[in-house]
Symmetry: C2
Subunit: 308 residues, 2 copies
């Protein structure tokens, strides 16, 4: 049986004003999975990392994705996977999506690419359902497709790739816990029409900025008047990080997914590194441990290498 | 003194899901204005149409735009204008915007283009303030710039042109009155977050569709779950027109501005004409008089010709 090595990138969902509809893939960090077919209908999971995630397929994000694919194809096919996570669970940069998307793309590859990209995304969404209780695709889609993805609709699934300039991305993951389900629950279910209008002006501006390679427009559009004001209270230092990073030259940024990671987009590496220094300063002062990444937009999504 | 002839096109604001932020210019109908400078600080208005609009500059949309420009430049400059409206006031295809934008562009031209495009848009917005009580730019901007305009923000003004495919536009103006102020007042000031998310998915999809020349995506994104369900009750036959036009091949469409006109986008002229026939059928049956237009996107905005 052939074995493949899969690289599933981290992702930034929402992109500030695009709550639930936009996401972007990162070149770092990236999970690594080794996957092979089994000739019996079971899923075997090995962990090769420090996170002690469940190896029961029903309770594992990659596991439920494999199971959903096996349910679809029937017969005596199963999967064995070794997961080496580099995207820390709960970081807000698409850790569960990387496991889910990596599993779905890997399985489809091993099965001879019998499923369309939309189908692969839908299988992967079963992993998000397990992780957060909600089937969403704003990490899954960019993880699979690379670049910036627009998820116009989930039912029916309508995913589109948005052209994306060469941007640098700085991410800081403060080592605190923000549960996605909590971050969802604190949102108000009603919003002011005037705020919604401002938000959709920003979303339209952000998409236009990506398409037209207009970095200033991207920067002006990275504004969220609905979600960020509520969610950012869960992230100590958020306002200071944001203000200092923009002063240091970031185009803009905000909460990555539901947090606690914060991301900033910059037009060049020098700016992205200055931004990293500003982020570190704030959390050094507050006294919260962190990881940072200075990376670029991953244009290709999940990558597969053949193994012997 | 030199005299110029100005063609100011009709416009479709909102574009279904882009309430207050998107607009598109039409090649038909178009107002015609003849404008010249005066060497005294007054505004003289002549009407050359059937609409009997006020000629008191303080009460005339073009008049207040000229006055706002005169206030800015000071001195002994004034304007004389003859207005020949072809865009019926109250039609919902940017009649007041054409007068306001035509006046602002004409004045700037006669003054040697001393103002930036943003300034010209801002002068023209004074006309919209008079017409509807609100300074908005979703008709003004496309009227001046042509094509599709995104108004990301009014304060501060942030206007961007969006690339636009070659599209056909069918418009029907049923001869009923929907006052812009009424159409604003019936809107709910609170919206469900889930509806807002669906709306901004559609807006992002529409902008991406325009930028990527993806007509199917444009069609799928022409959906409004917030404004149209409320406003369309003011327009008899709306649901039937929309359903029949889509069945006849329209990509999609909806209320033009605050109505009562309805517009539909199509990929070719044959479809646009079928759509026109469907629109007529509905209003013939209901027994409401109408005008229709089958036209294309105006890519250039207000056009100026020199007169002797």
């Amino acid at each position: 049986m052939s074995k493949i090595k899969v690289f599933a990138p981290g992702t930034v969902a929402n992109l500030v004003c695009g709550f639930d509809i936009l996401g972007l893939a990162l070149n770092e960090p990236s999970d690594i999975m080794e996957v092979s077919l089994l000739d019996e209908p079971k899923v075997i999971i090995h962990n090769r990392d420090e996170y002690n995630l469940p190896t029961d397929p029903e309770k594992n994000v990659a596991g439920v994705v494999f199971l959903s694919i096996m349910e679809k194809i029937g017969g005596n096919t199963g999967f064995e996977v070794t997961i080496e996570k580099h995207i820390k669970p709960g970081s807000g940069i698409g850790s569960s999506a990387a496991s889910a998307a990596g599993a779905a793309v890997a399985a489809n590859h091993l099965l001879g690419n019998i499923f369309s990209t939309d189908e692969v995304i839908q299988f992967a969404m079963n992993g998000e359902k397990l992780a957060s209780g909600v089937k969403h695709a704003d990490n899954i889609a960019p993880c699979i497709l690379g670049g910036v993805s627009l998820i116009r609709s989930i039912h029916p699934l309508d995913v589109t790739s948005i052209p994306c300039p060469e941007l640098f991305v700085t991410v800081i993951h403060p080592q605190i816990e923000v549960r996605t389900s909590d971050a969802r629950q604190i949102l108000r279910q009603q919003v002011q029409l005037k705020d919604a209008i401002r938000q959709w002006g920003n979303i339209a501006g952000l998409v236009a900025g990506f398409c037209k390679n207009d970095l200033d427009l991207i920067g002006r559009s990275l504004e969220d008047v609905i979600i960020e004001p509520v969610r950012s209270i869960l992230i100590p230092g958020f306002d200071e990080v944001k203000a200092n990073c923009k002063a240091a030259g970031a185009l803009g940024g905000g909460i990555s997914g539901s947090g606690p990671s914060i991301f900033m987009l910059s037009r060049d590496e020098a700016a992205a590194k200055k931004v990293e220094a500003e982020m570190k300063k704030v959390y050094d002062k507050i006294g919260i441990a962190y990881h940072t990444y200075v990376t670029t937009v991953n244009k290709n999504g999940v990558r597969i290498e053949a193994l012997k």
